[in-house]
């Protein structure tokens, strides 16, 4: 019976006390971190479905966002190609037009400037318009000199370009300042709407993820009601009981994030070929950009946060209701 004595003896000096609270805390965290993953692994089908729902819900807005970014990259290129045409007054001769060109080149907003003299304008018009012979009849050249301006990259936002055009219009030599940019402006506005739309969709789907995780954890808590009562009776703290559920939420979020990342990458790689061919048809070497590492990690972080938040809500609502009776 000496064995009995040593194991059940009350107050016996005992070198192997429990770990300090902090060590025990960390140890339990590490243990639950892995065991909750193991638990998911042991019921692969149902958990995979939950994770897939999270993945799809997150992949949808994130994928749209990546496409929008691509669109912005493309339109950014177009924006750089915006050009302003300044038509001089008829009284301005070619020499004065060239002089004006020299002056304007010094403006910081202007990347490049090309002066089309009246004679050049005439020959270009003759060549392109098909009215060549008719124009021969005219005694005087009816076309003004044109200054074609490309604003530089840093000053190419619609507002800045509009400001530049206004400034140039004030010049005494200029009759008409024309900007072929309205369609770019419209595109920009549409993209803004798209961005707003994506934010709304993302918010709704984030809510869906929250509810999915919350509901899954709630069912998990209910199915383990007896277990929770038992461990409460043998001295488990609420934090101890809460922990496996929170880590389950963490894993749902983490795996859901990974799945949505994969889905986006796969979808983009499916689109990449046709997009490149289309770009080729427009004479562009544009290729579809995939998600960069940073936004991928951001996606993962958001996903994990949603998983944790969902389980936190479920645990907060349902765990305190379960008390031994």
């Amino acid at each position: 019976m000496s064995k009995t004595k040593s194991a059940a003896g009350r107050g016996a000096a005992d070198a192997s006390q429990p770990n300090s609270r902090f060590t025990a805390y960390l140890l339990n965290h590490a243990q639950v971190f892995f065991s909750s993953l193991g638990k998911l692994y042991r019921a692969p089908m149902s958990n995979l479905m939950t994770v897939a729902v999270i993945g799809i819900a997150l992949a949808f807005p994130m994928g749209l966002y990546v496409l929008l970014q691509n669109l912005q990259a493309v339109s950014g290129g177009w924006n750089g190609a915006t050009q302003i045409s300044l038509f001089t007054k008829m009284k301005v001769n070619d020499a004065r037009a060239a002089e004006l060109g020299q002056e304007l080149r010094l403006l910081p907003e202007i990347e490049s400037l090309h002066v089309l003299t009246r004679q050049e304008a005439m020959s270009e018009f003759q060549a392109l318009s098909g009215f060549g012979e008719a124009l021969e009849v005219l005694e005087k050249n009816p076309l003004p000199a044109v200054l074609i301006i490309h604003p530089n990259e840093a000053n190419s936002s619609p507002a800045q370009v509009a400001l530049l055009v206004e400034k140039l219009r004030q010049l005494p030599e200029i009759d008409i300042a024309q900007l072929d940019m309205q369609w770019v402006e419209r595109l920009y506005t549409m993209m803004e709407i798209g961005e707003r739309g994506i934010i709304v969709i993302a918010a709704l789907l984030a809510l869906a993820v929250l509810l999915t995780v919350g509901n899954t954890i709630r069912l998990d808590i209910q199915s383990r009601r007896d277990e929770i009562v038992i461990v409460k009776l043998i001295g488990a703290t609420n934090a101890f009981i809460r922990r496996p559920f929170l880590y389950t939420g963490f894993w749902y979020g983490c795996l859901g994030g990974v799945i949505s990342w994969l889905m986006i990458e796969i979808s983009l790689s499916l689109l990449a070929g046709p997009v490149q061919r289309l770009a080729g048809l427009y004479g562009s070497d544009f290729s579809l950009a995939t998600m960069n590492l940073l936004s991928g990690l951001g996606l993962l972080a958001i996903s994990i946060l949603l998983g944790l938040a969902g389980s936190w809500i479920a645990v907060g609502r349902h765990l305190n209701e379960i008390e031994p009776s």
Binding site: K3, A7, A8, R10, S16, N28, G235, A236, T237
Partner: protein, 224 residues
């Protein structure tokens, strides 16, 4: 160890489970709590294990007034009590070893220490060779012994048992009671709620009887 002073427990609805209960259970004592079903045995154990709160009067555990224990301190108080249930309350999704280890995991013991203590505890109840089995595969008596091993594994100074032999035949019941006596002999305070009067008579311990919520002490020859 336990002291009840003029303790009343009235459940919502007006049922008086305990009326003016006074008793002391000293350190290292072993006692039976008996009475008909509905006499208040379970309520008394629930008050000690902080599942229920008294309506009036005082309950002290180790000189700590249980009414003063806040919600956050309840788990730590419960770790000083080993509770044994009639239906043993084992978890069937894990092995015997893991069931017995649970209180130690909760208290944050080291891995090696858990193994050592769980085996010592299983050895005491004679189930060392069953540690890897699922409790579902064990007989009723064996399951109850696993429950006892779990209750004593973190060496609580107090053991509470609620009808621990309720589902067992007389011979197994006797073995279980002898087990409790063994723990008591090494200094553990033991309080066993039971209505198995034959068994209680055979053992020479204090007998606390509850009748309609009131407590009185009996000797074994007064029992009938």
């Amino acid at each position: 160890m336990i002291r009840f002073q003029n303790l009343f427990k009235r459940y919502p609805g007006g049922h008086d489970a305990l009326s003016d209960v006074c008793f002391d259970l000293n350190d290292g004592e072993m006692a039976f709590l008996t009475g008909h079903s509905g006499a208040g045995k379970s309520t008394l154990l629930k008050i000690i294990s902080l599942i229920e709160r008294p309506t009036r009067g005082q309950a002290l555990l180790n000189n700590v007034n249980l009414a003063k224990i806040g919600k956050r301190r309840i788990p730590y108080m419960r770790r000083q009590i080993g509770i044994i249930f009639q239906d043993h309350q084992l978890l069937f999704d894990r092995s015997v070893f893991d069931n017995v280890a649970l209180p130690l995991v909760i208290a944050g013991y080291r891995h090696q220490e858990i193994g050592r203590r769980v085996r010592a505890s299983l050895d005491k109840v004679g189930l060392l060779d069953k540690e890897k089995q699922n409790p579902v595969t064990l007989s009723g008596g064996e399951q109850q012994r696993v429950g006892i091993a779990r209750a004593v594994v973190n060496k609580p100074p107090l053991l509470l048992a609620d009808e621990p032999t309720g589902n067992l035949d007389p011979e197994l019941s006797w073995e279980i009671m002898r087990l409790f006596e063994n723990f008591n002999q090494v200094g553990v305070t033991v309080l066993i709620a039971s209505h198995d009067l034959e068994l209680i008579k055979r053992m020479d311990h204090r007998i606390l009887t509850l009748n309609q919520g009131r407590m009185f002490e009996q000797t074994s020859w007064e029992l009938d």
